[in-house]
């Protein structure tokens, strides 16, 4: 199991080097968005309008953190279930994003879109929310404050721990890993 350090924004070369099962430490800015923000982003793209931030080469983090204590950068900030974003992810990749971070397998055309747009889907460990919070060094509001925990935030992270689960070559850790350890 290789450990790789990557810095955002990502290039195609970096993405191509990431394989399902790789242990990754991410540094640089990542953008949080979940259901409501995705709905709005796709509406903007449909109208041919610009997104509220430059998405080129960037990663979207599916997260809804707990409240921030005074003096801290963020509250606990683990991933949420990615499957709910299946129908949005291909559009976001098409718009120039290089991938996403969440938890659980993504389907419904996502694997194909990762291949087509050279993107990567990484899993953060669900419930490792306090540990992940420690890797966030800066937390800025980008858009749609009225969405509360669902607003788009720019998180600057240092060595954010993630695992490549679905890569641009068709690799899928959820399927390969389980098959390997199944004993029936």
């Amino acid at each position: 199991m290789a450990q790789k350090k990557i810095t955002t924004p990502l290039t195609d070369e970096v993405v191509k080097d990431l394989k399902a099962g790789d242990d990754v430490l991410i540094s640089g800015p990542i953008y949080t968005a979940r259901d409501a923000a995705h709905k709005r982003m796709v509406e903007l793209l449909d109208k041919g309008e610009k997104l509220p931030f430059d998405i080129k080469g960037h990663l979207i983090y599916y997260a809804g953190p707990s409240p921030t204590r005074p003096g801290n950068v963020i509250g606990s900030a683990g991933p949420t279930t990615s499957g709910r974003m299946n129908k949005y992810a291909p559009r976001i990749l098409e718009a120039g994003s290089k991938g996403m971070i969440g938890k659980g397998e993504m389907s419904g055309g996502v694997q194909e879109a990762l291949k087509k747009h050279t993107g990567v889907y990484m899993a953060a460990v669900g419930g490792a929310a306090a540990l992940i919070a420690k890797s966030v060094v800066k937390n800025e509001l980008v858009a749609w404050e009225e969405l509360g925990a669902e607003a788009i935030k720019k998180l600057t992270v240092k060595d954010f721990p993630a695992i490549v689960v679905q890569d641009c070559h068709g690799g899928n850790l959820y399927q390969e890993g389980v098959k390997k350890y199944q004993r029936t």
Binding site: M1, P65, A130, L131
Partner: protein, 280 residues
Amino acid sequence: MREISSKDITKAVKDLCVDANYNLGEDVQDALRKAYEKEESPVSKATLKQIIDNFEIAKQGEFPICQDTGFGVFFVEMGDQVIIKGNNLFDAINEGVRQGYTDGYLRKSILADPIERKNTGDNTPAVIHLDVVKGDKLKIIIAPKGGGSENMSEVKMMKPADGVEGVKEFVIDKVKRSGSNPCPPIVVGVGIGGTFEKCAEMAKRALLRTIGSKHSNPFYAKLEEELLEKVNKLGIGAQGFGGTQTALAVFVETYPCHIASFPAAVNINCHAARHKEVIL
């Protein structure tokens, strides 16, 4: 009769909300450490390491174990010699949740209406199960429940002819279909018997058992062991990355049953298997 003031109940509940969300039970901690030792898959082992580091950080009291600090689920055992002074019991508990989730910087995840989906802003109301027992004590158990694992639960009205084999099949299939969603390694609660709602409640109550404990009935103790072994053969591993440590425990609870019925229920808990209790 013994009087307990509703203020003391509120205070105790407030503390329980915070304690449960920052301090993982010792039994769960030990079980996760053992799973780390036993795990054969390098990816799942590295994941378990993160899970262990995470609950250690949470103990320091700044960051809750998980950002999903859950629905406040309570099991209350009230002694028949207890009188509550001040507010009624349910109001006192809800006030404790309100204070605990606000002052403890816990996420508010409860929506006032399932269709309209507007947040109540203070994580109330709680779900409260009340039992009356002998004595002059009041026991309050909190089990905050996250959405990811709760969504992977099911009640099945099986046929009496399905027997214990039917239950095994149902449980294994449910865990298999849940895959990575409930944040494995999981704890599996199984209810068998009773009515539709009693069965679901037992499956949830089963999650309160201490990891490592055995069912008092040898038949069910054996069933728990067999189910755990079968679940771990599914290969799901930590977070569904593939591995040998899918579940920390399987707990079964049973209740008498109607001649025509055979309900079974599965309620899954994630590795953030949170519950704490207090006796007033």
